[in-house]
């Protein structure tokens, strides 16, 4: 089970994930996020993983896919509140070479100038 919560602050889409992100739930995250990006004027994404209890490589794929979308329009993606096991997956796949990591949501938002 994955719950996807959206909040917008100026041109930043804040996505809070709760539950488990695998191949089954990745589809829902992809569809909802892409729909939001199409409808609303968003440049950057902040991804809050504080309440994400499980993730596998399907999560890497869907996060990378959304990163590519915002990057195409000159935006950035910042990830915050990541747990140790999920951080290891990010490190293994080299995601930190392209995404910024912040401890807290407030830091991530400040990075993008909307705190």
């Amino acid at each position: 089970m994955l719950t996807v919560n959206f909040a917008q602050k100026q041109d930043v889409l804040l996505i809070r994930l709760k539950g488990e992100l695998d191949h089954h739930s990745a589809k829902q995250l992809r569809e909802k996020t892409d729909h939001y990006l199409q409808e609303k004027d968003v440049k950057h994404i902040v991804l809050n993983l504080e309440e994400l209890t499980f993730m596998d490589s399907s999560g890497i794929g869907v996060i990378l896919g959304r990163y590519k979308e915002v990057q195409r329009a000159g935006g950035e993606m910042v990830v915050c509140s990541i747990s140790t096991p999920i951080k290891r997956l990010f490190e293994m796949s080299g995601l930190f070479k392209i995404l910024r990591l912040e401890h807290r949501e407030s830091d991530a938002l400040r990075q993008l100038g909307v705190a």
């Binding site: 191949h23 992809r30 596998d56 399907s58 890497i60 794929g61 997956l89 293994m92 796949s93």
Partner: protein, 146 residues
């Protein structure tokens, strides 16, 4: 002593969570650390997802079998599908290699299995299916008393 279990289920994505939670519950009796349990659940999720997406290409009639074996100090998992098989196993194991980039696959499944487990053996035959054998020694297990 050795303790074994076997699960068989349909190749549908709803069962990815079922498979990792079930294996996690079985393995819990060995009192693994939280990290070890997370690693085991993650590799089960990877292997089962591969069977669903690549082995059966999302055909829900496919069946996946998981055998789990608990030894004194280690856990062995075997995940079996009778799907399309892998043509080039060495290539499949390379980090970031995927045959389904259009599905946003990251190509990290086998790399994660190799990182989280002590042994990974893949056997596969095109048109016949794939078997993934995984073994993990639990760091905390010197001896178990039942």
């Amino acid at each position: 002593m050795t303790n074994e279990m076997k699960l068989e289920f349909s190749a549908v994505s709803e069962n990815e969570a079922f498979a990792r939670v079930s294996v996690g519950a079985f393995v819990a009796q060995m009192d693994p650390t939280m990290d070890e349990l997370t690693e085991i659940k993650t590799v089960v999720s990877e292997a089962v997802t591969n069977a669903i997406i690549h082995g059966y290409e999302e055909n829900p009639n496919g069946k996946i079998t998981i055998l789990a074996k608990l030894e004194e100090e280690s856990i062995e998992l075997t995940i079996v599908d009778t799907g399309r098989g892998i043509e080039d196993i060495e290539q499949a194991k390379e980090p970031l290699f995927t045959t389904k980039p259009e599905l946003e696959r990251s190509g990290m499944g086998f790399t994660i299995m190799e990182n989280f487990m002590d042994e990974v053996e893949i056997t596969s035959k095109v048109g016949a299916g794939t078997t993934v054998y995984l073994k993990k020694r639990l760091a905390t297990k010197k001896s178990i008393c039942y």
